[in-house]
């Protein structure tokens, strides 16, 4: 246990350093963009006035020298304060926390769906290697892997909402319907089907291929042959020997993809009007709401770092031979 504690401590320090640089890089990047929030607000108000814009700049703290702004921002982030969105008149942390659950719900569900289906289909394909089931699954995976997310989303809406009318095409739930308890859960679930499918299919394809190939590789290794020769049934061999080892590369890869998944949610959230942080970030970018955009970067980066640590820990559980360093 102490070992795990030490491992965690080291990983956390490393994560903090990475985070520091991420904040720094992104701050510089975002501020390199032309236009500032004051000019956007003036543009949207349909009228403008120097004094008004100047006042806005002062209020947003944009009249300070850049390095001062950066110093203030970086120190406050490490004190847990993501700043204040003057544009929306609210704390950035509050804004993000409000949106985070929707994004997490979407991405985690899509991830679990992708992983479960991917491992299942991959295993199936590997067991029937060369036969029609394998061909069908491999083809499905190849096609899913090559389909643009946003287009898939549109086509799913066209089919399931417009043509068939089975599922709602956008939103998080039926607003104003007054559902509670189980009804509300079902309602949200119905709204989730299409976004989760859209986001999940691509990763399902990735995991299917990975699982299949890594099973095939391990299938003929000595320790599996030994187990088989000992008379262990094929099903048990599959689950306890093959799958257990085959799943390792899948986990590694999944860890790396946490960031991708969150990036993909920008597109999915746009297509399905999902009230998550992906859309928050995109709007913040267009409106130059610096603090919010930086906040989203920080939060998503923390999520990815956490996810990586978790996958490393999982590794040790799945494969006890690997000790935490």
């Amino acid at each position: 246990m102490a070992k795990i504690g030490l491992f965690l401590a080291r990983r956390l320090v490393k994560a903090a350093i990475i985070l520091f640089f991420i904040v720094l890089i992104n701050f510089a990047l975002i501020r390199a963009a032309p236009g500032d929030p004051a000019s956007v607000m003036a543009g949207e108000a349909g009228a403008s006035d120097e004094r008004y814009v100047e006042l806005l700049r002062q209020r947003f703290g944009l009249d300070e020298p850049l390095h001062t702004q950066m110093f203030i921002y970086v120190t406050s982030v490490f004190q847990g304060d993501l700043g204040y969105s003057y544009r929306q008149g609210r704390n950035v942390s509050a804004l993000i926390l409000e949106r985070l659950p929707a994004t997490l719900l979407l991405t985690v569900t899509a991830f679990v769906f992708a992983l479960a289906m991917g491992v299942l289909l991959g295993t199936l394909a590997a067991m029937k290697v060369g036969r029609w089931a394998d061909t069908a699954i491999t083809t499905l995976a190849l096609i899913s892997y090559a389909t643009p997310l946003f287009w898939l989303g549109l086509m799913l809406i066209l089919l399931f909402s417009v043509q068939l009318g089975w599922l709602p095409s956008f939103g998080f739930e039926s607003v104003g319907a007054g559902f509670t308890g189980i009804d509300r859960m079902l309602d949200v679930a119905a709204h989730m089907v299409l976004p989760v499918l859209t986001l999940g299919l691509f990763y399902m394809a990735v995991y299917t291929r990975l699982t299949r190939s890594s099973i095939l590789e391990i299938h003929d290794m000595d320790f599996v042959k030994t187990a088989r020769s000992k008379g262990v049934t094929e099903g048990k061999v599959m689950v306890f020997h093959v799958l257990r080892n085959a799943i390792l590369p899948v986990i590694t890869f999944a860890g790396f993809q946490a960031g991708h998944l969150i990036g993909g949610s920008i597109l999915v959230e746009t297509v399905f009007a999902w009230p998550g942080i992906g859309r928050l970030a995109f709007n913040a970018l267009l409106q130059r709401d610096y603090q919010v955009l930086l906040g989203v970067f920080v939060v998503t980066s923390i999520l990815v770092l956490l996810f990586n640590i978790i996958t490393d820990l999982l590794y040790t559980i799945v494969d006890p031979r690997i000790e935490v360093e």
Partner: protein, 544 residues
């Protein structure tokens, strides 16, 4: 009637709209009051029901005194009120002021306030709130306050229910400055002596309007409920309103179609979708209710760049563009082809100006005259166009412009930006051509002259004279017209300035934009004034 000439052009294309407008105008003329929508006039209002309204994009806040973007207005217009409202002909109607007088010299505006009005927290509304708003709140927070109130000498409150605005110069446009987004009355008891923009009550708007704030689930919806002590007895009719955030245009159209929402406004629905939705039996399309905004869309031209500084080149571009094609195929018939700088529905419009037809040959002649001969590729000049990053329609418009100008030998390069980059470039004059549309606020002194006078060439300020066009005669005419108290004199001055501008084309006017308000037919009285769905909804009701 002054709108006839242009309306008759659009008549063939969209007869139903024209008839709706004509009917509305006649009813108004008959003095039947303001309480009708285009379809229902006679029915008895019914109480109850929930209204669902599309809201996009999400407003940054709901305090109308601090933020006046269209989405903010849409929601906050139900909670806040001003002294006046305006009918479709821009005639003032009572709101928080029950009566008002303007002295003959045009210098004194006296408003008598409604009795028994309370704020949503129960505090009484008095003339003090009006004075506070005009003298303290808005000057600090409102981008148009300094120009609207420039000629204001004093604001006084002789008693709790009277307010007197004293001007130092006659300013006939002033009566139009009391629309709710220009002059939302803010509660003095909450804001007085605080930092207005950092007040803790900014999360919870307090107004006098028929609906009060209930909750705002960010990214999802805003909910308002009926204010039980509203000063107009028996109103509002609705129990509550949900403003639903739907960021995707296609999803918004679908929501109207499936009756998940009842109302869309402004550019919520892409023009392509409007004809299709109009066909559906449960939806109707209303184009009134934007007379205060009266948006005029144009190609903005940087006069500091050659050959754009030459009026002949600007005229050539005007002749090269088929503005009817733009209206019919890009804006899907929504809008009117403008004749000049003043929108048909704005006060002081004249049609006695040179009319530009679509004439590519004329365009090429003009460029020949300038000595711009085509090179081997047929290119006479090259310009850069910055498309307006406010949605698909404007991108299509830019693409059309590129093709149409290409036809006469003007090669157009497009450079895309997001809204922040666009605002910065245009304000700082770092562009050659761009699309823009500007609100007129009912009167040329409020929303037209600002983009053409030399005085208003101010770097870094959007919606100023960013073109850098300067003609002292134009300045003089606008200045004299603004303070001219005699209606005929004023009309003559404004007619003259319109003729000069049409001749010199500081910008290329493309379209008097009409926004479609799409309403479920079960909803009545969704649009009753010149600010349309941004009004209070006190009279709006739902057929049960």
């Amino acid at each position: 009637m002054k709108t006839v000439s242009v309306d008759s052009v659009s008549y063939q294309l969209k007869g139903s709209n024209w008839w709706a407008r004509a009917t509305a105008a006649c009813l108004l003329a008959l003095g039947s009051g303001a309480l009708f929508s285009t379809s229902a006039v006679a029915d008895e209002p019914q109480h109850g029901g929930t209204l669902n309204v599309i809201l996009d994009p999400e407003p940054p806040m709901l305090i109308l005194g601090i933020n006046q973007q269209a989405p903010t207005q849409l929601v906050a217009g139900k909670m806040y009120e001003s002294l006046l409202r305006y009918d479709f002909e821009l005639e003032p109607m009572p709101s928080l002021a029950s009566e008002w007088e303007i002295s003959d010299d045009g210098l004194t505006y006296t408003f008598h306030l409604q009795e028994g009005v309370t704020w949503h927290d129960g505090e009484p509304f008095t003339s003090h709130d009006v004075v506070f708003t005009a003298t303290e709140f808005l000057p600090e927070t409102h981008p148009r306050a300094s120009s609207n109130f420039r000629r204001l000498e004093s604001v006084t409150a002789p008693d709790d229910h009277t307010v007197v605005f004293q001007l130092d110069e006659a300013y006939p446009a002033f009566i139009l400055a009391f629309e709710v987004a220009s002059f939302p009355i803010m509660p003095a008891h909450i804001y007085e002596g605080t930092d207005f923009t950092d007040n803790e009550m900014n999360d919870h708007p307090i107004g006098t309007g028929p609906f009060k704030f209930e909750r705002w689930s960010r990214g999802d919806y805003v909910q308002l409920t009926a204010y039980e002590d509203y000063w107009q007895d028996g109103k509002p009719y609705l129990d509550q309103i949900y403003f639903r955030l739907i960021p995707d245009a296609a999803s918004r159209a679908l929501a109207l179609e499936t009756q998940q929402v009842d109302i869309s406004s402004f550019n919520n629905i892409e023009p392509f979708d409007v004809p299709r939705l109009e066909q559906l039996p449960h939806l109707e399309v209303i184009t009134e209710g934007y007379e205060i905004a009266a948006p005029l869309s144009w190609i903005e031209i940087n006069h500091r760049v050659e050959p754009l500084d030459d009026p002949r080149f600007r005229q050539a571009m005007m002749y090269a563009l088929d503005r009817e094609f733009i209206r019919d195929n890009i804006f899907m018939g929504l809008g009117r082809v403008p004749t000049g700088p003043i929108n048909t529905v704005t006060i002081e419009y004249t049609d006695e100006v040179h009319i530009y037809e679509h004439d590519p040959d004329r365009a090429m002649e003009l460029m020949d005259e300038m000595g711009l001969e085509p090179d081997g590729n047929g290119v006479r000049a090259e310009v850069e166009l910055l498309p307006l990053p406010y949605g698909e329609t404007f991108i299509r418009l830019a693409e059309y412009t590129r093709e149409a100008l290409g036809q006469v030998g003007i090669r157009v390069r497009m450079r895309s930006t997001d809204s922040a980059g666009w605002a910065q470039r245009v304000a700082d004059w770092e562009y050659e051509l761009t699309n823009n549309f500007v609100y007129q606020y009912g009167h040329p002194a409020l929303g037209v002259s600002r983009t053409y006078i030399c005085d208003n060439i101010r770097q870094g300020v959007l919606f100023s004279n960013t073109m850098g066009y300067c003609n002292e005669e134009v300045d003089d005419l606008f200045a004299r017209a603004a303070v001219e108290n005699d209606p005929d004199e004023r009309a003559a001055l404004y007619a003259k300035v319109q003729q000069i501008l049409v001749e010199e084309l500081p910008v290329i006017w493309l379209l008097e934009m009409e926004f479609p308000t799409i309403v479920n037919t079960r909803v009545r009285n969704a649009t009753t004034t010149a600010i349309g769905v941004a009004d209070t909804f006190a009279d709006t009701w739902i057929e049960q």
